[in-house]
Amino acid sequence: MISKEEKFPIAKRYNVADVQVSKEATAVKPMVVANLIKKAKNPVLITGGALLEDSKLVEIAVKFYEKGIPIIATGGSSKPLIERGIKPLFKTYTLHQITQFLLDEEFKPNGKNFDVVLFLGFLPYYLSRMLSALKHFSNITTIAIDEFYHPHAKFSFTNLTKDKELHYAMLEEVLSKL
């Protein structure tokens, strides 16, 4: 159970028209994200194309890797990560392909299924559809840690679009608690 203090009030969606009838993501604070990762049996961080534009996100992803979270790099995000010494599990496949793979219980690239998947650095509308697929057709716990509130994730940061620095600080806080 997540306490009231650990949640944000209902957040504004990245797109006001992305409306569903089913459960929307719980907007959580960094501590909850850290706890979910710590409790996970086989977590993974998937990175997207925003890392090509935002070096701070690269730095954050590197820190996750250093904390033992494997990375699947998509959208070309592998390039700045490899330059920083990261060895991603995958770098060739798109998030679209990786999501198709995640929906298959036989997909065990490091010997086990991924139970907790974090998403960082994606175009919000592109990520949203993948979160929707994972929500409806898998049991994976999805956590969106981008600056947008993602209604289709199981857990998401709140809407941080107005305050980039707060977003970075929240990411750092997750890392500090791992």
Binding site: Q20, S22, H136, F148
Partner: protein, 794 residues
């Protein structure tokens, strides 16, 4: 002496009617009929299931509810079933089938309009003559319908088949029909194949009747972009996809000797087709330029036809005092039908403002009315062109209204930070942060709907970047139509063997994830590497706007032949049929595979041998959905930009499932496991870097020769290193022999194969001894169809 005998006189036959139906002429025996002429809704199901077994459908719901019937709305979340029994996955498969049916019916109805009109105007005996170098005139119609059309009249037979199939597929989407996603996907493919036939009918009809360019590589270059028109002339703007209605404008002005007194420019594919008719016409741009052009007061009259036209066109035009002439019965726009009015009566009603617009589905009258209205309106509002605001003060006042509430940001398809641009301009007067938004802005106008202060946000953005927008003009090579048989003869073998590393077909709309120039950057990467690049529709006109440092567009830098390192603009949306047609012609002209009613064999050939990949960087319309799905059924993978995810369905294989990747080798008679090439049929990418790498990898085919595989792998590896920072994850699965390896990297790669993948290498000879999934055999002859295997194994 002649005697009149008793009998029946004509007079007594007055109540007998005699009908002479179609005179059945025996068709010339041009080729033996194949197994599936005019295939019914399930006749190609087996082929579809072969594809779908490998390329599993993937669904990304946009909504998790269904409200199509009165028992709903139903909550289908987590794959629950609704009142009718349908679950979420199947509901999405059905929705995609509906979308493809819409796309298919758009092209096919367009074809029907054209064919019926042209037969009325020119007669049904107009020969199908696409020029001396095109003997395989209608590869799709031959392959699917099983006929060889010789005249305009013959095209009706193909249309009748397509129309029947569209209705049958649409029927299957009714409550209580299919319950398997695979059957819905098969029907999506069926209706999308009909779409390709409809497109071919439409384009052949207009090429032969209007004398468009016939497979000519060096067509004229026409001005393209926002800043193309001379403000001292009346401007006639045509918008839509069916040139039939606006073509007579050219005829009228030519006949009256006044063609040079007017500017005629188009938006969307009608623009392409106007330039194919007369290269004096110009191209403003795609759908995202509709608001830009109208709000800038450029048209003195707008002539609309059908498809991809803003649904608020009349409202937009009337706010600017621009009369609208709607012409297509598909988009009447609530306007009065003035077909029976005299020309001068219509002109007077529009110029005086008594009517904001008219519905005039009579092309000849449109030809006369449009110039007369344009001239009168031009004289009325001489100074309004290229102005988004009357003054800088007005612009400033508009910006001052913004409270940074961010409603626009969370409505914008790209979440553009309009609030930051407005705040910065308010504080400093500097418009630069608003100006940069223009490069990515789709000018959809949703932001204005969300704005509580009713700020004209689109105008603010356009005005802020005015100079760059105005000069973002270049030249588009006029659509050439089909690919010549002689060109296919030249490139067929190098494509099938792999020496030409691939054909990249950039097709589709403008819903790009980033700046328009990215499409040019992506395609130039392949042009420099001597792939064949083919384009059409909105992508083709965007390419015509982007110039390099020397002021040249890709059309001016690379030739228009269907050959390595060249860029071919086939024309409008319906000209996409020539891209599919080129793939089919390779199977026919190079490999001598019979086309007639032989779809599955041809698609199987293309899937295994022809390294062509469709690319839609900005997919938007339903037509783009059916075009892509039609290519997929033909064995051509398609890469879409990130907005393409919203089509909800993709076809993505799982390369690690080795049992899924097999073929029959006709030469050895064995079922053989193969490398997963291509491993997806429809996949969305997020960035241009990712697009480039995916396009290169999806060009690999099982049939590549060692030389071809070596070339394809060289590009794939180089591009992966350049954009992904390292070797691709899967490069080794494409290696059958050391000869497949890029020459310059052979030793390095052999070492990696040995150390990281456990392959055995004989270092003395630098030879792979053990490791690959299969060995290379020059006679390898792959198929996944049992019937094809049996036919050629005999």
């Amino acid at each position: 002496m002649f005697e009149i005998r008793k009998g029946v006189f004509v007079d007594e036959l007055r109540n007998v009617s005699i009908r002479i139906g179609e005179v059945a002429e025996e068709e010339e025996e041009w080729e033996a009929q194949g197994p599936t002429p005019k295939p019914g809704i399930i006749e190609l199901r087996k082929w579809d299931h072969k594809l779908l077994e490998r390329y599993e459908p993937f669904y990304a719901p946009v909504q998790d509810f269904c409200n199509l019937c009165t028992m709903g709305p139903c909550d289908l979340s987590f794959n629950k079933k609704g009142a009718c029994g349908i679950d979420l996955r199947t509901a999405k498969a059905r929705l995609v089938t509906i979308a493809c049916s819409i796309g298919s019916s758009a092209h096919t109805a367009h074809a029907r309009h054209l064919v019926d009109h042209l037969i009325e105007e020119f007669g049904e005996d107009v020969p199908i003559d696409l020029g001396g170098d095109v003997n395989v005139e209608a590869p799709l119609i031959r392959t699917v319908v099983g006929i060889k059309p010789k005249t305009l009249g013959d095209l009706r037979k193909a249309l009748e088949w397509a129309e029947k199939e569209i209705v049958k597929v649409l029927h299957s989407t009714h409550i209580g029909n299919e319950e398997s996603i695979l059957d819905y996907e098969s029907k999506s493919m069926q209706v999308s194949m009909a779409d390709h036939v409809g497109m071919e009918v439409a384009d052949i009809a207009q090429i032969v009747a209007f004398n468009f360019p016939k497979a000519k590589p060096d067509t004229d270059l026409v001005p393209t972009g926002f800043g193309i028109v001379d403000v001292k002339k009346p401007v006639i703007v045509v918008v839509g996809h069916n040139v039939m209605y606006s073509r007579p404008i050219m005829d009228y002005l030519e006949k009256s000797g006044r063609i040079d007194d007017f500017e005629i420019a188009g938006l969307c594919c009608t623009a392409h087709d106007m330039t194919r008719y007369r290269s004096k016409a110009k191209i403003f741009g795609p759908i995202s330029y509709q608001l830009r052009v109208i709000r800038a007061g450029l048209p003195d009259v707008v002539v609309s036809d059908e498809q991809c036209i803003r649904a608020d066109l009349l409202d937009l035009c009337s706010k600017m005092g621009i009369p609208l002439i709607a012409t297509s019965d598909a988009a009447v726009r609530g306007l009065p039908d003035v077909s029976d009015w005299e020309v001068d009566e219509i002109v007077e009603a529009l110029v005086s403002g008594k009517l904001k617009g008219v519905f005039l589905p009579v092309p000849e009258k449109v030809g006369e009315v449009a110039p007369k209205v344009a001239e009168a309106i031009f004289n009325k509002y001489k100074d309004r062109k290229y102005k988004f605001f009357a003054s800088d003060e007005e612009l400033k006042a508009e910006i001052a209204k913004c409270t940074q509430c961010m409603s626009c940001v969370f409505t914008c398809p790209h979440n553009l930070r309009i609030d930051i641009g407005m705040a910065h301009a308010q504080k400093t007067g500097d418009l630069s942060k608003l100006a940069i938004l223009e490069e990515q802005c789709l000018a959809c106008g949703k932001c204005e709907q969300a704005c509580p202060k009713e700020i004209k946000i689109v105008n603010v953005i356009m005005r802020s970047n005015f100079d760059k927008l105005y000069t973002k003009t270049g030249k588009t090579r006029v659509g050439r139509g089909p690919i010549q048989d002689t060109e296919i003869r030249k490139v067929g073998q190098p494509i099938v063997f792999g020496q030409i590393p691939g054909v990249i077909a950039a097709v589709g709309c403008i819903n790009f994830p980033d700046e328009m120039k990215s499409i040019v950057e992506i395609l130039e990467e392949f042009l420099k590497r001597r792939y064949i690049v083919v384009t059409s529709g909105c992508h083709a006109m965007d390419i015509g706007m982007i110039r390099d440092e020397e002021g040249k567009t890709l059309y001016e830098k690379y030739p228009g032949n269907f050959d390595a390192g060249c860029i071919v603009n086939v024309g409008s949306c319906v000209s996409n049929s020539h891209i599919a047609g080129a793939a089919i012609k390779i199977a026919n002209i190079f490999a001598m595979r019979p086309l007639r009613g032989n779809y599955a064999e041809i698609a199987d050939y293309i899937l295994n041998r022809v390294g062509a990949v469709g690319f839609s960087w900005g997919p938007y319309s339903h037509k783009a959905a059916s075009i892509a799905t039609g290519f997929n059924r033909l064995g051509v993978p398609v890469v879409v930009g990130p907005h393409g995810m919203k089509y909800r369905r993709a076809y993505i294989g799982k390369p690690w499932k080795k049992e899924k990747w097999w073929v029959y080798d006709i030469k050895t008679g064995q079922k053989t496991f193969i490398e997963p090439a291509p491993d997806s049929l429809l996949v969305a990418v997020e960035t241009k870097e990712e697009a480039i790498v995916q396009l290169a990898r999806l060009c690999i085919r099982p049939n590549d020769t060692s030389m071809g595989r070596q070339i394809k792998l060289t590009h794939y590896i180089e591009l992966s290193k350049k954009y992904m920072g390292d070797l691709p994850d899967d490069w080794h699965v494409y290696v059958r022999t050391e000869a497949d390896l890029p020459l310059k990297m052979r030793e390095e790669l052999l070492k990696i194969l040995e150390e990281q993948h456990g392959w055995k290498i004989e270092w003395g000879k630098k030879k792979i001894v053990e490791g690959p999934l299969r060995s290379y055999d020059a006679g390898f002859n792959p198929t996944v169809m049992e019937e094809v295997f049996a036919k050629y194994r005999r």
